[in-house]
């Protein structure tokens, strides 16, 4: 229901949905990737 009202408020079809939570989630995921990778890289350099 709430979407219908939202959509009416935003008649422009080009308007993008609110995906802030998604952005934060994937950025956390990305940080995990980078941190883990450099962790093992450090291990490689130390050995």
């Amino acid at each position: 229901m709430s979407l219908a009202t939202q959509e009416r408020k935003q008649p422009n079809n080009e308007e993008q949905p609110n995906l802030k939570g998604t952005l934060i989630s994937v950025l956390i995921l990305g940080t995990l990737i980078v941190v883990s990778w450099f962790g093992v890289y450090a291990l490689f350099m130390m050995r």
Binding site: M1, L3, P17, L19, G21, I33, S36, V40, Y41
Partner: protein, 563 residues
């Protein structure tokens, strides 16, 4: 311009859902039954391995550890997965593009070929004539029937591929200009990839292994066999993974009460997965003496490319969850999280699988990182890695699928009680796998080798540390086996005893006002041509060199495997 706009006067045929006939259901159910049986046998082998490796248990009756390990790898990595995937994909095709009586007949041919092949190979392993593990590296030689059985399994999957291609072809003929239904598109991509991949391993088996194991060829080019194996071996993991992605893209949105996030992006990620899952096998051979470093690095770059569609998938999944939650009225940055159906095993099991894929995927990037591979190559870290990816992410998704597919096929209901036990089963699996795989990762970073019977080696601090983690693996392995017993029980219950009824086959739709999918996604010939070109680019020169500058070949070795 999109295809969708071509026909506005009727129901979109790409979104139609066809009923499955009783005969179709029997075929799909047969695949599922072999799959769950394989899970039980393979899981028991896994339990035995972890117990042996804890150092507190020895196998009875002269059974060899490596025989058990070979059964585990072959029956779970090849049999359980293949039967599930082929059966599930048939059902997706039957549901979206239909299956003719003739296709159904050939479907049974594929089933029996795969089953006969499995029984042949399994018999050889049980007789102790095939303890070469599922990678069957030359010059260890198994009995010829080991290879012939595997070849039959592959041929069975080829028949399935031809049926799938034919199903799409007939549908396209009936609805010219329409976009292929998304599930059928995904199955087609997976099977094109599969045909490309298996040509490699089939060549090795038919041209190299079978004549050599029969004694017609005296020697074998070891590096060529390994290269052909890993040319197949990496897309093999994507062959496992893509059906899970299918469920994540088109089934999960339906279960959570949402829509497909983007039909076009889902297709794009599958096309990219087709391109880049094949020209990357060298990243399994990074510590190989016989492959030039530059070619390894080129395939490492291509390996990083195959990460991109998975990054896209991660975004799509979060976005599906968030949009669904917001539509239901949940607010705030993460309020949508509460909208997810946590008490529904059809969602929960695959969702836990997705979570496992985060560390699984990260480990994969590390493994494929050229010189970093020396930190982890052939340590038990790698075993931990693919237990996160295939044995957690993929298998939990397959469990999630089973909880609605089995009752759908048997005309019964997923009752609240089965659902509750299913949730316990998925959580047990998650706990067991987290303990086992976590212990494997840590022990691997400390150098503990994979694929090894219990051994105290020369003793010392390093080795006793490994053994500590092996005890933890046995704890995890035991929990996993309990979860297997539980799902076998639930499978039987759903197949024979649950109350009769209609269980939904969930397939999500697009938003009504969704952006039309561009027509260029139907360029099958172009996708195949690009895939082929990438393979030639990545493998052409080094592969020809491998043959032209080969060392003397290797004669077969029987005694090391106890033959």
């Amino acid at each position: 311009m999109g295809i969708k706009s071509l026909k506005v006067d009727q129901v979109d045929p790409s979104a139609q859902k066809l009923p499955l006939s009783k005969k179709q259901k029997n075929l799909y159910l047969s695949f599922m039954t072999v799959s769950i049986t394989a899970l039980l046998i393979g899981g028991l082998m896994g339990l035995l391995q972890t117990l042996v490796r804890s150092g507190k248990f020895t196998l009875p009756a002269g059974i060899d550890y490596y025989q058990v390990l070979t059964v585990h790898g072959v029956i779970l990595g090849l049999v359980m997965t293949f039967f599930f995937i082929i059966g599930f994909q048939y059902s997706l095709m039957g549901r979206t593009v239909g299956m003719t009586a003739k296709q159904l007949k050939w479907g049974w041919v594929s089933f029996w070929l795969m089953l006969i092949g499995t029984i042949m190979t399994a018999t050889i392993i049980l007789l102790g004539q095939g303890s070469v593990l599922y990678t069957f590296y030359a010059p260890l030689r198994a009995h010829p029937i080991f290879y012939i059985g595997l070849a039959l399994v592959i041929v069975g999957t080829w028949i399935a591929a031809i049926i799938n291609f034919r199903q799409v072809y007939l549908w396209k003929k009936k609805y010219p200009g329409e976009k292929t239904p998304l599930p059928a598109f995904m199955v087609t991509i997976n099977m094109i990839m599969w045909v490309f991949a298996t040509i490699g391993v089939a060549s090795a088996v038919l041209i190299q292994f079978i004549p050599w194991s029969l004694g017609y060829a005296e020697t074998i080019n070891v590096l060529v066999t390994r290269t052909l194996f890993w040319y197949f071996g990496h897309p093999l993991v994507y062959f496992w993974l893509l059906p899970a992605y299918m469920a994540w893209y088109v089934i999960i949105p339906k279960i959570i009460g949402g829509k497909i996030f983007s039909d076009a992006l889902a297709r794009l990620s599958f096309v990219l997965l087709l391109f880049f899952s094949l020209p990357v096998g060298f990243h399994h051979q990074l510590t190989e003496p016989g492959i030039p470093a530059t070619w390894k690095f080129i395939q490492v770059i291509l390996t990083m490319m195959v990460v991109v569609p998975t990054l896209m998938t991660a975004f799509s999944l979060f976005a599906t969850f968030e949009m669904t939650g917001r539509k239901k009225g949940y607010k705030g940055l993460f309020g949508w999280f509460k909208a997810l159906p946590w008490k529904d095993v059809r969602f929960l099991a695959p969702f836990i699988g997705m979570l496992f894929f985060i560390p699984g995927g990260i480990g994969g990037i590390i493994n494929g990182s050229h010189q970093l591979n020396t930190v982890v190559h052939n340590t038990v870290w790698v075993t931990g890695h693919f237990h996160l990816t295939v044995a957690a992410a993929v298998i939990l998704t397959f469990f999630g699928i089973s909880y609605w597919l089995i009752p759908h096929l048997t005309g019964r209901k997923l009752t609240p009680q089965i659902n509750r036990l299913g949730i316990i089963q998925a959580i047990l699996w998650a706990i067991g796998m987290a303990i086992m795989s976590g212990a494997m990762h840590i022990a691997g970073l400390k150098g503990a080798p994979r694929r090894s019977n219990f051994s105290e080696y020369a003793g010392g601090e390093q080795v006793s540390e490994w053994i500590g983690y092996q005890v933890a693996q046995a704890v995890g392995g035991s929990i996993l086996f309990i979860a297997i017993l539980l799902i076998v029980y639930l499978f039987i219950k759903m197949a024979f005893f649950a109350p009769k009824g209609v269980e939904e086959y969930p397939l999500a739709e697009e938003e009504v006002d969704a952006e039309p999918t561009p027509a260029f996604f139907e360029n099958w010939k172009l996708w195949i041509a690009i895939t082929f070109a990438l393979i030639i680019f990545a493998y052409g020169v080094p592969f020809v060199d491998m043959i032209n500058y080969a060392p003397p070949g290797s004669p077969p070795f029987d005694w090391p495997i106890g033959k």
